[in-house]
Structures are given as structure tokens and as C-alpha cells.
Symmetry: C2
Subunit: 666 residues, 2 copies
């Protein structure tokens, strides 16, 4: 069987993720720059369009592509809606433009007669008139066809190049024999907060900082307002569901649980408590309040221009209603008892893992999806997913796809700390954002290599790193040992290396008491109530506030793939920058990675990248400390004392030194 | 809808052409080395197979894959048949190996009791027994299950690692929840001559070299035997079909044709001549003989261990029977007359181009395919396709696919000298071999850059360059000006840079009379009879004979992607080499690119790549001139006089300098 006639070759389309096997990611308002090799046999000229549409729509948006060199074509479209788009290229051999070019060649070479060529041109124009659906266009094309038919070659050649005719011929081009790039690649367009946000994580029960009793949803506002004052815009709660009592863990992960120990929020489910929805993933822990209280808190947070992120942790305590109602969803031991979680020889008797391949897997996958939709119904649109790498990637693809179909504004953060290929696969499967190895990238080589990979390779098309300085599970050694300067350094790195970052509460207090020899918090609030003075001396709340203000005021810091590393002549000094495409916002960051000692360095400012010359003078304004310097050319000097100012965040502006300009920058 | 349960992620499969959009190419007996990222969620161990089969077969061949690092898996299969294969990876979470590993961890950590774990293992083995189709395996698995069930942990752990059990568990693995890489990539496996051949092109009518009359098929044997004596194995004929008389071209492409001018073989078709099949592409020109004569010649050539390649030129003279029988296949002018070929302002009134998009295009495409099948029926399996880039790429994909379905041994050489993307697209569409830019790559930078691209990039997977030193259309300036040394230099380059190369007859006589200022032959035999002494003094037949013998005797020169360039401290000296994977055949080539002056150079031999040390001594044997040298380490000296020996082709052998070895190399 001979297939549909394919006339044009369209190849090497970019951008694509894995040759089109997975969608790209963009943010509302972003451009999509598409290029491809487009060509056909013979001498005919080719015309090509970039087409895009919302998935499910029939009609395409279209924009003409322009040839670059070497059969490479280029076009840009802007993606304005929070949805999933598909895009493609349509191209065809263009008889009108081919005729136009051939006619001119012959005319200029003095070929005579050109009668046949003239009639050919008239016929091509007349055929367009027949295709035209607008009567005015149809009439005009017929007029021009008649004019060509009766003209001398010089007039034909001139008429052929009328821009009016060219526009009409593009509008009513013959696309019968056009070729499309197939299958259509997809691009997920997320809302702005998916790409630019500062997260603040706290346990609702710790909101007030009492050492001996838990707070409730109704008493969380103080913490929320504090987060808002610091400039955070996403409040992220670890699981808020009923906590199991069977095998409940005690303080510091002890298997012995005291009667007043509140339990680990990640051991989810307690059907023995009085809960309207059975005591599982659709309920809130009674000690935090009711669903109504939660709704009230969500509304309060929304009123402040912030959002709630919930933890989606698929751990079931032995008391979870699913254990009772759907034992077939869990693993069994040969004696028929339920199998608890293990990482041999470690045992986690307080958690039963779900079996995603159980014979009723379709039912399980659907129920878990409905849990997300339930919370969407309660105003939650951001989900931090716990350990997604221990569930099938295909499951996430299903769940996220289904949720996005009705809630394209839903945001999923993948909390996977695992091998690199799985980290990437989860992002490709649909996760909006991802945890990263930032936590363990400390020195200059590690940071610049890793963030170059994240932002300058194919990963930037689908993987958005959300940089956490710390988590309830991870208190990095650097923070344990580096004191207050270490906290400032890591906060500045997180806040400027990516537009997405987060801190786990206590960070602002520089809390750094660890289980000896481990990257774990001592007396972790995962297992107990925790007393805190949220305004304890030595805190860095003011510093965080400045960081978040600088991020909001500088668009360059709100972009992801614009990160570039520059040279600093000291291995303890990391130097990088970001700028907007139009160069109207240029930020340079210089970080002393040593939390103990002052480090000096000559740094190489990429003035050429800013469009300036080595001889130019410019102003750098340290937005953190409100200090200004005049710098000259590339090589400049910095000195950073970690105990005073471990970091520069410099807004760079051209110094207007010509006498005819008034200095409108100040 | 929830899709089929996908449990394992299989990504970044290599090799693939354009992400799997086009088939790879291999030669019979080649290995296919497949790698991919294979992993799954959680702690379960993964097992993976590489699978391959002839397209159309149901059963797969399988071989286990082995993990490398970082979730990368690896396997190799060998492709023995001249056909099209498809291949894929199948992977699954392996409960047995996961259990085996977990049991050991717990046992070694002293966990007790392990009763439940023991029963689990027995159950896994028993399930395999149920799947086993061989009664002996079934019985043995049941025995082992029973043994495990009743053993103490130490014995269970030991039994779990019996290699007998491991083998049985692989053989009867549970692949219910396995995942396959889709869609299946393809690999075209061509016969040996598709990858290694020396072509000799001559016009049958010029076989005897008479200046005033043409030869016939029956008088071609002298030329064939001469080609065989020189070591060529493909005899390639420009079109042998009836030549049109309307607008026939005269000598040197003149529009005035003398009565005795034989015409251009590329103006095909003459329905006014007496031909059994209408005088078109299924006939031979009566002045060459009959189809029977042609069949006789083909048989003679086959008897000599050689093959015939025919030109497939889709040019129709105004006298072609298709012009009469299928006017709808051609372009019309507005006055209804047939449109001849043009490249404005140039006109080719002796050729009518076909319209591959005409309303009856299916009929046309099918007829052209039948033409190829017709000649396959006459023992021709190699087709050099004239100007394929002026026909739709989709047409070639159709034609070649259809021909290969019944004649997988058919070889198609793409004679496209056009822009790079189209050259590549034709190769991807199915052409076995391709003309290259070799003709215009002369200096060291050009040659090393271009051949690195051909052999060391993704192109090597699908594009096989067949290097022609000259063609009836192209007499390169280098040959026009460089005299006999230039012919030797270009022949040596062509014969050693690629296993596929060709010369157009007259090359061996160093013919270099050109149309002034052009890369065209003066008095080209395309337009006239040509008198020649095939043994004229100054010929390089002996040199070509040596080149072809060296190629046949050295397997390294029969491979394509093993080309590597090395450093020579002189820009007029090109230094490169090829070796077999087992290093049992190592060839180094040193070429003086200057046809006029002696050039000396220190060259850097990559002794480390041969597995030797800088202090080692080794023998280099110049196979062209039968001279031997002892070289030491990397840096060695060469001196090449173009008038004597412009090229070294060196077989490199380790010099056995230990007294206990006798020198078995001599």
C-alpha cells in the first residue's frame, strides 16, 4: 500500500524531550522557539508553518516559519494558557513562490518568449482565487490573474512581487499536498507559581512552638503571617491526616511510644478515630481540628496571596481504613498477615506499603487519584509527593494526567532523592517540580557542574528543580557545622540558583542540633512536640525577607534556564548570574562558600554578554546590603566576610557617563 | 482509561536513528550493541532482555542484558541474515532475585525468625515450577521449593544462590508484568558487498575504445576482465536503455546533433526503435545488443565473481513510451504541451521530468518500482540512482521498501550531490550507500573534519559513503592540475577512507583534459564515441591493483566506522588508521596531499590505542611498496615524494623482541 503522499521532509524538530516521547514544560506567557530541518526534492521553494493548539481543540493557531541556513527553519509562538498544548510543523512545496522566482530568473536572463510562463502564473493565482473563502480576496485574486495574463513580462515580474499578492497567496495557499510532523509533540504550560515560588514548610502542630502540646489549624495564623512577612508564598504542610496508633513511633524514632507522643504524621490513617471520611487520606487528624477548620485556614492563606501545599504520602499505618476495606491492595506474608515496610535489615512496622501491581491495581490507582481530586475540591492545588520513586512511574503519569485534565493549575513536586535516571523519569512523567541534589552540592565544582546540568542541558526542558535548604529528614552537615553564616550562604544559593526554593521551618532560627554522625535533626518534630521561640536571637529572618524581596523585584531571578556561571579566581568563591532576554534586568551573585573565613577574589564579569565593552564603566548595586560600587570592564575585586556579608547579590546597570545624559537610574 | 500496567522504565535506547524514526544499517555478521536506561520504582531488582527478530516473524531471539553503572544496561546480538530486523528490550521486576538479595541481607544481619521469608522464597520457586513447560524443570523446581520450605535459614540462603536454581528461575521467569520498549526500532542488515566493494564505471559503448563507433554488450568482456585484473568487483554501467532522438544533444553538450552522434544515455526512451518492451526503461538500446546479450554479459560478470550495477535515471526523452502512454505523469504547459526540464535560465529540451505528485502518482510510483524489479529479474541487484534528490524522499522510501521485501540483497546507491540535510534524508529513507562530498574535500582540515563526521557521528548508523574519485560529470580540479601523483593520491584516499569506493574509467589512464574553467571532461563520452588505449603509458593500473589487493587482504580496511585521524606535524600530510576490534589487523595510512612536492613529517602513532607502550618497538610494513621499518613509540618520521611514493599504507605488527620467541611474523 502506498501511504498518503508525503512531499516535504520535516526532521530534527527542537525542542523535544526524548525525541517527543514526553512533553516539554513551559510557564504561562513563555515563548516556544521551534526549529526544524524542512526541505523537499527538486527546485521548488518550501513554505512552512508552526502550528499549535490546546490539546482537544480542532483548530490550530499558525505562524509562518522563516528559513535560517542549511535547511533549518525557525518560528516562535507564545503560550498564554495554563493547559497542555500540542504543536507541529506543516510544510509544502509552494508553486507560487517557485514560479515567482523562476519567472524573475528567466526575465532577468532575457529569455523570450515568456508567454507560457505568464499563463502559468496567471493560472496559479486564479487557482488561489478559487480557494479563497473571502469574497473580497477572491475578487482581487481574479483581477490580478487577469492583469498578469494580459501583461508584458516586465509587468508580470513586477506584479508577481506585489506584497498584496504575496499576502493573498500565503493566506490562500494550496496545502493539499502539505506534510505534517507526526506525532504531535506536547508542551505542558503551567501557571506562574509552578515556576517561581518560595516555600515555607511547617508542621501545623508546631505552629505556636509549645514544647508539650500541639497547635491546631485555628492557631496556625501566627506562623502563616510570619512566613508571609518573610516573603514566602507557599505554605507547605507535612501530612495532616489521622495518625496510626498501632506500632506508633516515639521520640527520636524510638519503637517505644510514650502515651503522650503525638506520632509520626507519615504513618497515615486511623479508622478508630471519629472522622467523617473513615480516618484515611481524606480526613484531617482530629487533634488539628476539623475539615471545616482546615478550609478556614486555606481561605485565610489564600486571602494573604499565598497558597497551601499538602504532602501526598502514600504510607498506610496498620490502622488505615484501606487496610481493613481493601486488604487486596497490600502485600501479604505467607501466613496471610499484612507485610510492613522494610529496607533490610531495617523494619518499619508502623507502615504498610501498597502493592501497585495487585490484581485490583486499576481500582487502587483510581482511588489515589480521587484523593488528590478531593483535596483540589478543598482549595489545595499544590502537592508535594513523598517518595514517588517507590511507586511505578506509570502510576504518576496516570494520576497527574487525570488531575491536570480538570485542574491544569495543579502542581506536583516530586520528593525523590534517588538515582539520577529515576529523578529524570519522574519529571518526564508529569511532575511539575522536583527535589534535587542541591542539598549535597557544596563546593564550587559540584555546584557549577550540577546546576549547569540542570539548566543548560536537555533537562531544562522538563525538570524544574525546587531547592530545599533543609527538610525534616535532612539537616546537612554544612548547616550542622557552619553556624549562622552557613544558613545565610545556603539560603542565598537556593534563592538565586533557582526561581523555586524552600526552607523547612527552624531554618530561619539556624537550628542545627543533629543526631550525632547523621544528617538528621535531634529531637525531630516528626516524632514529638517541639518548643521554639520563633523570634529567637541570632535568627536570619531579616536576611530571608531581603532574599525574597530581591527575588520578587528582579525578573531575572524568576527564570530558570538563564543561569550562567562565571570565573572567580578563588575556589571558595562561587560567581554566577542571571539576566532577562532583553537585558533589562541583570543580576550577579557572588557567594563565599566558606562559612568561617573571609575570602577575596578577582572575578571576571561577562561584560560582552551584557553588550558592553571591556573599557566600560558600570554600576553594581548590592541589593542585599544596599551598597553601590563602580566597576570597570571584566576583572573586578570582591571580599566576602561570612560573619558580616557572605554574599553579594548585585544588580548591574550601565553607568551613563556622557554629559548629555542625566542620570535617570537614581 | 488506565493503560496496560507498565512497571519498568526503559529509556534512552541506543543506537537509534532520529529517536527510532528510521532504521539503523548493519552488514551481515555485524554485532548490534544495544544499551538503555532500565529501572523501576522501589527496591525490586530488575531483569532485562535484548530481543530481536526478522520483521514479520512472531518469535523473538533473546539474550539477557547486564547492568553497567547508573541504571545503564547493555547487551549484544549478532545479525546473521540479509533482511530487516526489529529489536526491543523487555524488562521486569524480578521477585526471585529481589527475594534472594533481601533474604541474604536479613540473614547476615542476624534477623530472626526468618520463617515467613523462607515460605515466601519457596512460594516464588513453586510458582516458577507451575510456569515451567519442561517436565524435568518443573520437577526440579518443585523439589527445590520443598527443600527451601523445610530448611534452616543458612541452608535457605545457600540454596537460593545455587546456580542451577538461578538458571531455572531465569528460564521460567514471570514476565506477566514485563514492559517492552515501543515502538520496535528497526535495523536493515545488508549483504557484505553493500559494505565493502570497489566499483568500476564504464560506458558499454566505449568498451573497446574505438573513436568512431560504439561497442556492444558482446564486446565488453575485455573491459570487464581488465577491471577484474585491477581488483574491482562491481562493474557499473551508465544507462543502457534506448536513447531519444528528439532534441538529441551533440558532442560536448551541443544542441546541434550530427547524424552519427550516439546521444546521451541519460535521455532515456525511444519508442520509435524496435524494442520488445516499448523502448523505455525495460529495454536496452538496440545499438548495444538485445536483452539476451545483456543477460549473457551479466552471467559472464557473475562468473568472474563480480556484479553489475545499473544506473536508475528517471529522465524521459520526448520519445519515451511513457510520454505517449501516460502523458498525465508529466508536467504540462498552459498550452497543453509537455514541459521539459529546466534550471532557469538553462533548458534541457531533451528531457521531460516526471510529476511525482500527479493525480495518478500511485500508478507512476508502482511502475517505477516494477522497473527495478524487472532488472532484478535479469540478475541485477545493484542500482546507482541518478539525482534522487529531485524526486520525493517518500517515493524512495516506498520503492526501496517494496524492492527489499522480495530482494533484500538489492543495493541502492544514492547519487545525490546536494545540500547536507537531503543527503542524510535519502540515506535514512533506505538508500544502502551514498555519494559524498569526497570529490570536493582536498586539504587536511576538510578531509579529517568531513570523514570524522561521516564515521564518528550518528551518520555512521545509517549513511555509508561510497567515494568516487571522478564521475562522467566531475573531473575535479585537483586531478586536472596534479597529474599522475594526484590520481594516485585520490585513489589511495578513496580506497582507504571508506570500504566503498569507485572510479570512472579513464581514471586509471590519468585522463585529465577538461572543459576550460570547469570540472567537466572535454569531449566527454556522454555525448560521443571516445578513442582510448586502455593500456596507455603512464597509467596507474598497477597502483590500483595493489590498492584493491591490500583492501581485500586487510579486514581493517573493510570496516567503515573504525576510521581515526592522527596527528602529523605537517599540514600537507594526512595521517589516519583503521583497526579491527580485536586489534589483529592494524593499518596506518600516511598521504602526501601535495602532488608536486616532497613532504616530510613527524607523525604521532597512537601506540596506546594498540595496547602498547611508548617504549615499545614495532614493525611497520608498507603494503604498497613492500618496504619495512622498525618504529619506536609514538613519534616517527615519514618522507613522501609524490613522484615516487606519495602514500604509505602500513600494516603495523608488534615487534617481538624477547629472546624466547621465534619471529613467526616473517
Amino acid at each position: 500500500m502506498i501511504p498518503k503522499l508525503s512531499t516535504v521532509v520535516i526532521e530534527n524538530l527542537t525542542p523535544l524531550v526524548d525525541g517527543g516521547r514526553h512533553p516539554l514544560k513551559r510557564i504561562v506567557g513563555d515563548d516556544l522557539v521551534v526549529e526544524a530541518d524542512v526541505f523537499k526534492d527538486g527546485h521548488d521553494l518550501v513554505s512552512a508553518l508552526l502550528k499549535w493548539r490546546k490539546q482537544g481543540d480542532v483548530a490550530w493557531n499558525e505562524t509562518p516559519m522563516t528559513p535560517l541556513v542549511n535547511d533549518r527553519w525557525h518560528a516562535v509562538c507564545s503560550l498564554f494558557e495554563n493547559t497542555t498544548y500540542e504543536y507541529t510543523i506543516e510544510a509544502w512545496g509552494d508553486p507560487f513562490r517557485s514560479w515567482q522566482q523562476e519567472f524573475r530568473k528567466k526575465f532577468e536572463a532575457g529569455v523570450t518568449p515568456l508567454t507560457s510562463e505568464t499563463l502559468e502564473g496567471a493560472a496559479i493565482v486564479r487557482a488561489a482565487a478559487q480557494r479563497a473563502l473571502l469574497p473580497a480576496d477572491k475578487r482581487r485574486l481574479e483581477e490580478i490573474a487577469a492583469l498578469i495574463e494580459t501583461s508584458e513580462p516586465a509587468q508580470v515580474d513586477a506584479t508577481a512581487h506585489w506584497s498584496e499578492l504575496e499576502a493573498l497567496m500565503i493566506a490562500w495557499a494550496d496545502r493539499t499536498f502539505s506534510t505534517e510532523y507526526l506525532p504531535y509533540p506536547q508542551v505542558i504550560v503551567d501557571r506562574e507559581r509552578a515556576g517561581f515560588a518560595a516555600w515555607y514548610e511547617f508542621f501545623p502542630r508546631s505552629a505556636e512552638g509549645f514544647p508539650d502540646k500541639g497547635s491546631t489549624f485555628r492557631s496556625c495564623l501566627g506562623r502563616v503571617d510570619d512566613a508571609k512577612a518573610m516573603g514566602f508564598d507557599v505554605v507547605y504542610f507535612p501530612p495532616i491526616h489521622p495518625i496510626g496508633t498501632t506500632h506508633r513511633k516515639g521520640k527520636n524514632n524510638s519503637v517505644i511510644c510514650e502515651p503522650d507522643d503525638p506520632g509520626v504524621p507519615y504513618a497515615i490513617g486511623n479508622r478508630h478515630q471519629k472522622c467523617p471520611n473513615g480516618g484515611g487520606h481524606r480526613d484531617v487528624a482530629p487533634e488539628l481540628g476539623t475539615l471545616k477548620d482546615f478550609d478556614w485556614l486555606v481561605a485565610q492563606i489564600h486571602q494573604r496571596g499565598m497558597e497551601v501545599a499538602l504532602d501526598f504520602a502514600l504510607n498506610c499505618s496498620p490502622d488505615h481504613p484501606w487496610v481493613h476495606d481493601h486488604p487486596e491492595w497490600f502485600f501479604k506474608r505467607p501466613d496471610g498477615t499484612m507485610k510492613y515496610a522494610e529496607n533490610p535489615p531495617k523494619k518499619y512496622e508502623d507502615v504498610y506499603p501498597l502493592d501497585y501491581q495487585n490484581p485490583n491495581w486499576r481500582e487502587l490507582w483510581e482511588e489515589l487519584t480521587q484523593v488528590i481530586l478531593f483535596w483540589c475540591g478543598h482549595g489545595v492545588k499544590i502537592f508535594r509527593v513523598d517518595n514517588p520513586h517507590t511507586k511505578p512511574v506509570a502510576f504518576w503519569q496516570y494520576l497527574i494526567g487525570k488531575v491536570r485534565a480538570t485542574h491544569p493549575d495543579a502542581i506536583f513536586l516530586s520528593e525523590a532523592f534517588t538515582r539520577p535516571k529515576m529523578m529524570k523519569a519522574l519529571a518526564k512523567s508529569g511532575f511539575t517540580q522536583s527535589y534535587t541534589y542541591f542539598t549535597w552540592r557544596g563546593n564550587k565544582y559540584e555546584l557549577s557542574e550540577y546546576f549547569t546540568e540542570l539548566t543548560q542541558t536537555a533537562m531544562a526542558e522538563y525538570f524544574r528543580g525546587n531547592l530545599f535548604t533543609n527538610t525534616p529528614d535532612i539537616l546537612p552537615y554544612f548547616l550542622q557545622q557552619g553556624g549562622r553564616p552557613a544558613f545565610m550562604i545556603r539560603a542565598a544559593l537556593a534563592a538565586t540558583l533557582s526561581p523555586l526554593y524552600g526552607v523547612y521551618s527552624g531554618f530561619e532560627l539556624c537550628e542545627n542540633a543533629a543526631v550525632p554522625g547523621k544528617e538528621e535533626y535531634l529531637d525531630s518534630e516528626k516524632y514529638q512536640f517541639k518548643g521554639r521561640d520563633w523570634n529567637a536571637p541570632g535568627n536570619i529572618k531579616e536576611f530571608l525577607t531581603r532574599l525574597n524581596r530581591i527575588r520578587r523585584e528582579n525578573r531575572a531571578l524568576q527564570e530558570y534556564a538563564n543561569l550562567r556561571f562565571f570565573h572567580a579566581e578563588n575556589d571558595n568563591v562561587l560567581f554566577y548570574g542571571k539576566m532577562t532576554e532583553s537585558r533589562d534586568n541583570i543580576i550577579l551573585v557572588v557567594v563565599n562558600l566558606d562559612p568561617w573565613n573571609r575570602q577575596d577574589a578577582y572575578i571576571q564579569v561577562p561584560v560582552e554578554a551584557f553588550g558592553w565593552m571591556e573599557t566600560d564603566t558600570y554600576q553594581v548595586h548590592d541589593l542585599l546590603w544596599d551598597e553601590r560600587y563602580l566597576w570597570h570592564g571584566g576583572r573586578n575585586f570582591v571580599a566576602l566576610d561570612p560573619h558580616a556579608k557572605p554574599v553579594h547579590i548585585l544588580r548591574v546597570r550601565r553607568w551613563m557617563s556622557r554629559e548629555q545624559d542625566f542620570d535617570y537610574y537614581f
